[in-house]
Structure formats: C-alpha cells, structure tokens
Symmetry: C2
DNA sequence: TTACTTGCAAATGCTTTGCGAGCCG
DNA sequence: CGGCTCGCAAAGCATTTGCAAGTAA
C-alpha cells in the first residue's frame, strides 16, 4: 500500500494542510478498511476542526485523478475509497456485516480480457464484486 | 426473455393499469437495451399521460422484488433495468458509446464460487462488469 | 367495500458548486 | 502578488415518501 501524501507530493499536487491531513487519514484507514467520504471527514475533522465535508469531496476526487486512491461503488449507495496498492485486487462483501475482503485471481483476470476481445473490445476497466454470507462451521 | 406482465400476474401481484403499461414497456425495451427509470417513464407516460415518475420508481422496485426484472448500477450514475432472462449473464459496457453487450462465461462463474468458498463465504450475488473500447480493425 | 395504489409535491441523501475570504509558492 | 483553495450555504440529482383521492378485486 502506498503513502497517499507522499505520492501526491511527488506528482506535483499542491499540498495544503487539509490535503495532508486527508491523505494521511485515508492512508491509515485503508489498512483496515474502505472508508466512505463521511468516515474520512469525521477522522480528518477531528484533527482539524475547520475541515469541511466539501473539501473532503473535492480532495478525494483530486487524489483519485492523481492516481493515489481508488474509488469503489459497492451496493450500499455511497462511494468508498482506499489508497492505491501495488497489486490489483477485487472484493468480496459480506452482505450481513458489510465487511469487505480483498482477493486476487489471475485466472478470472485473464478470462475477462479474452471475453472482451471476443466481443471486439479492448478491456480498459472492470468491476468484480462478490456478495456472500459467512459459512458457519 | 420473460413477459414481465405475465410473470407478475402469475405471482399474484395486483396489476393496475399503470403496472400493466410499465411492465409492457420494460419487456419491450429489454429486447434492445437496459432502460433507466426516466426512459421507462417517458415511454410509459406516452401511453398514459397520468403515469408519474414516482409510480415508475415504486413499480420497478416492486417488479424487482417479485423477481420479474433485474436492476443494474453501472458506472453512469442511474439505475438501469431489464426483464429477467432465463440464463444469467454479465455485461460489457462500451465506455465511449454507452452500448451494453451481454455475455456468459461458465468458467468465471465457477471460479467465483470457489473464491468465495476459499474466503469462507457462500456466494449469494455478484457483479461483473467489463468496460472497454471498440477495437478498430 | 376496503385495503392497496396513485399523483403531487415536499423531503431525502449523497455529492457538487458559487462565492467571497484566505493561503501557498 | 495571483492563482489556487477553503468553508459555508445553496444547488443538483436521482430516488423516496406523506397525504388525500382514486381504484382493483
């Protein structure tokens, strides 16, 4: 997992006090989860009472454009974000608890490209989400 | 592809004039595409000037609960619907034109279940969307 | 009859934006 | 200094809902 603040700086994004705080908050929250804008706002606002939710919205959009974070729209209505990781992965969402697990499957990735090509397309993006319930043993 | 009106009747849903019209509109539009609520509303409203968009929203939700139509949230912001088909399929979306293609891939389906099980989950739903651009020959 | 439906308009919830003030380089 | 940012409140959008009147079975 990358350091959002560091990457943005390297890419030349003007870093303000608010952006630094928001970047750090996302980097830290990404270790354990996929925070939505409000969760990011709550954490950032705790460190700087003046940060507004409008700034959080503007900032995550910017970070995403700079390739520092990734946006996900799972089936719960709001957008969730996470710091970019070095390896691509997909998600499995626990529909009972909202827990999100990450996984990678080379085989699926490969087949996706083939399917796209078969349809006459070059694959540029994809979305794969599994929704499940925990198996009790 | 099923007949939405017929299926809803069979399942005992009280069919009003508005629901009949909306069901027929969706059945017909599903042949060629994946209409959003507004497109459904426009078509239905043409047949009965009194149908309101609120009714369309309430009705598609109902049809979905009755398993007569399926809801999709692609990356364009609004929800799209289509009449249930007998075989499950996923979608490839042309990011330049918005065109939507359907495809089925048994292998991916199979791997998905295995991935879920490996993580300790029973797969109950999934979302697989490919986004691509047409390959010019 | 009578519980279920509808149209309308108002209310949501999440996200975006105009504006004047403030800050970074 | 001068353009980029910010906080605030207002605006947007898709979708939902309260209510009184209308309707299917």
């Amino acid at each position: 997992m990358i350091d959002v603040k560091k990457l943005c700086k390297e890419k030349g994004l003007r870093m303000t006090e608010q952006r630094n705080i928001i970047a750090d908050v996302i980097t830290k929250m990404s270790i354990t989860g996929h925070p939505d804008v409000n969760e990011i706002f709550l954490n950032a606002n705790e460190k700087d009472r003046n940060i507004s939710i409008a700034t959080v919205y503007r900032t995550v959009k910017l970070f995403e454009e700079y390739g520092a974070i990734e946006k996900h729209d799972f089936k719960d209505g709001r957008s969730r974000y996470e710091a970019i990781e070095d390896h691509h992965h997909d998600h499995l969402i626990d529909i009972e608890t909202g827990e999100i697990h990450e996984f990678t499957n080379e085989q699926i990735e490969k087949i996706q490209s083939i399917v796209a090509e078969t349809l006459g397309y070059k694959l540029v993006d994809h979305r794969l989400e599994l929704y499940g319930i925990k198996i009790k043993k």
